[in-house]
């Protein structure tokens, strides 16, 4: 653990990502106290105001303060990320462990289901699921969660296959430890490294997917201040008010970038063999 912390701390870029995400998290939790204005409050006197002292990021076509909406938007992004990634993590890892541990027809069945889910471009599958379920925050989290299940499933299955023939698993089996206990106590803790990395990266994917689907009008409800909804509404006004389209996208990019560099850093710190930069 100490070695991990040292390696992680030494990676300046990953540490920067961690700090930025921490700021976003504080923003999301304390949004009502940090936002300078009510994100829903319309002000006809302040429509499409450029960035300035009163409104740091300007206002939208209804006179709403963009900075306040971005601060509240971070709540939606993090909530969608947390719940959807949580769903794919729990379901995907469970399926992957069961498939890898039991093998045989169960492995075949689960792997083929994963193959079929993998056959759809992720954003496209999420789009179709949203069309089926209808637009709402809950459905959005479900759609994004479903789409990322096979990624976790494949990683967990591959990791299980690499350790299932280890002596300690064989020993636990031979003294009569139940399969469930073996999977939970002996396998799961030993396959956590790649899963932690994937979880971090998936947060970035989930934020991107939420913004993309909301941008297309198939994400959260239109009255919710999400970064995607803000971009969707802001693009119609961008010729005369560029800040409408720039700041929400910049926030989304910064959050995704932070998750990506944090994920890269965690991968390097947790398991140097997984490094892909070739250094």
């Amino acid at each position: 653990m100490r070695e991990f912390c040292y390696r992680f701390y030494k990676n300046k870029l990953a540490f920067l990502g961690f700090i930025i995400l921490f700021i976003f998290l504080v923003m999301a939790i304390f949004a009502p106290y940090l936002a300078p204005y009510d994100p829903f409050q319309m002000d006809p006197q302040a429509m499409l105001q450029p960035p300035g002292a009163d409104h740091l990021f300007g206002t939208d076509q209804f006179g709403r303060d963009i900075l306040s909406r971005i601060i509240f938007g971070s709540r939606i992004s993090f909530k969608v990320g947390l719940i959807s990634v949580g769903l794919s993590l729990i379901v995907g890892v469970s399926m992957g462990i069961v498939a890898g541990y039991y093998g045989g027809w169960l492995d075949n069945l689960i792997s083929r289901i994963m193959d079929v889910m993998f056959s759809f471009p992720q954003i496209f599958l999420a789009l179709v699921i949203m069309a089926v379920l209808g637009t709402s925050s809950t459905n959005l989290m479900l759609a994004i969660g479903l789409v990322y299940i096979p990624i976790f499933g494949r990683i967990a299955r591959a990791s299980v296959l690499s350790i299932k023939d280890s002596l300690y698993i064989e020993a636990a089996n031979s003294i009569g430890v139940s399969n469930l206990i073996i999977m939970l106590r002996h396998i799961l803790p030993n396959i956590m490294a790649p899963i932690i990395v994937q979880t971090t990266l998936s947060f970035g994917f989930a934020i991107r997917a939420e913004a993309a689907l909301s941008f297309l009008g198939l994400g959260v409800e239109a009255d919710i201040p999400s970064w995607g909804i803000m971009l969707n509404q802001g693009k119609d006004w961008m010729e005369m008010a560029w800040w409408n389209a720039v700041f929400p996208g910049l926030s989304a990019t910064l959050a995704i970038l932070s998750f990506n560099i944090l994920g890269d850093g965690l991968r390097d710190a947790l398991d140097p063999r997984l490094r892909n930069e070739g250094e």
């Binding site: 083929r112 289901i113 193959d115 079929v116 056959s119 759809f120 471009p121 992720q122 954003i123 496209f124 789009l127 179709v128 699921i129 069309a131 089926v132 209808g134 970035g204 991107r208 913004a211 993309a212 941008f215 297309l216 198939l218 971009l231 693009k235 961008m238 010729e239 560029w242 389209a245 720039v246 996208g249 989304a252 990019t253 995704i256 970038l257 990506n260 560099i261 892909n276 930069e277 070739g278 250094e279």
Partner: protein
């Protein structure tokens, strides 16, 4: 080799069957009935029953599925409920646009990402390497729909260099076509280019450490031949796999990019079908996109097996 090809094709068959099941039954989960959606609020039961019989919707679901698959095998994807146009002809009309968008994004990757990755690896820890790393990180982090918006804002609305949307066929006016496709292909290809650049750089760094590179250098092989014939040639093997996988993602990303730039491609067709609740068109386009994705991945695997002698048949 033939055994490997046959095995890969056989594995793809159950996946394609699975895709057809998902495409068919997922649409049936949409709340409401197609017929009531078509007839609107004021309809009578007789009209509804007649229409249901017309479309074969009165049959059990399994029978409907089997009829659909049977027709699919004959190349008949059905007819749009709203326009009555054959789904296959709608797809074929729009396929060239999506294909061109993907190819242009792909070319952009080849022309910029691979050379940039290779040069960054040769000049490790230089300013160029840092710039390439920033490009790589930003490329994989910027949502493509936001990049598209910014490109429109800067290069269309402010500078007026490129149109902000629309399409002209290449055969009607090649120059206009390239102007219309330039910004969409950059927006779509940026993330793929970033992934390819990062992969090229890391792959080259690995290769440059190998003994045979040292040996070639010791034998006096010129730097140019060493890099192009010895290092880059071998470094590109894993890059090709990534490039192939990313081709599939280009197909998914085209849904959003085509919508933003008003390009009449497959992605926009699928999105329109979703928005209009045009179920037959929806299941046809879902099937087409997913099958395209599987076929691209299959081709990548086969190309990889051909170029990489380490693959066991």
């Amino acid at each position: 080799m033939w055994r490997y090809i046959t095995k890969r094709i056989l594995i793809a068959i159950p996946v394609l069957i699975g895709i057809s099941i998902v495409a068919f039954f997922l649409i049936r989960l949409v709340p409401g009935d197609t017929v009531t959606a078509l007839l609107g609020a004021n309809y009578n039961q007789e009209q509804a029953a007649a229409l249901r019989a017309d479309y074969g919707l009165d049959k059990p679901l399994i029978t409907q599925y089997l009829i659909w698959v049977k027709n699919l095998l004959k190349g008949d994807f059905g007819h749009s409920f709203f326009t009555n146009q054959a789904v296959s002809s709608s797809i074929m009309e729009r396929l060239p646009v999506t294909f061109e968008l993907m190819i242009m994004s792909f070319i952009y990757c080849l022309l910029i990402a691979i050379p940039l990755g290779a040069v960054a690896s040769l000049k490790k820890n230089s300013l160029l390497d840092y710039l390439a790393t920033i490009f790589g990180l930003l490329g994989v982090s910027i949502p493509n729909f936001w990049l598209a918006t910014i490109l429109i804002l800067v290069f269309s609305l402010h500078m007026g260099w490129f149109p902000s949307g629309g399409f002209v066929s290449f055969f009607a006016d090649p120059i206009a076509n390239l102007r219309y496709m330039f910004l969409p292909s950059i927006a779509l290809g940026a993330s793929v280019g970033a992934v390819v650049m990062r992969m090229t750089r890391s792959s080259m760094l690995e290769i440059l450490k190998q003994d045979y590179i040292e040996m070639a250098r010791a034998k006096g092989v010129s730097q140019k031949i060493l890099i192009i014939s010895h290092a880059l040639k071998n470094a590109l093997i894993p890059v090709i796999t990534v490039l192939g996988i990313q081709m599939g993602y280009l197909l998914g990303g085209s849904v959003i990019i085509e919508q933003i730039f008003s390009l009449p491609g497959i992605g926009r067709l699928a999105l329109q079908a979703i928005t209009n609740r045009d179920y037959i068109l929806m299941q046809g386009s879902i099937l087409f996109v997913a099958a395209g994705f599987v076929i691209i991945n299959l081709l990548v695997d086969l190309i990889y097996a051909l170029i990489n002698p380490q693959i066991r048949y």
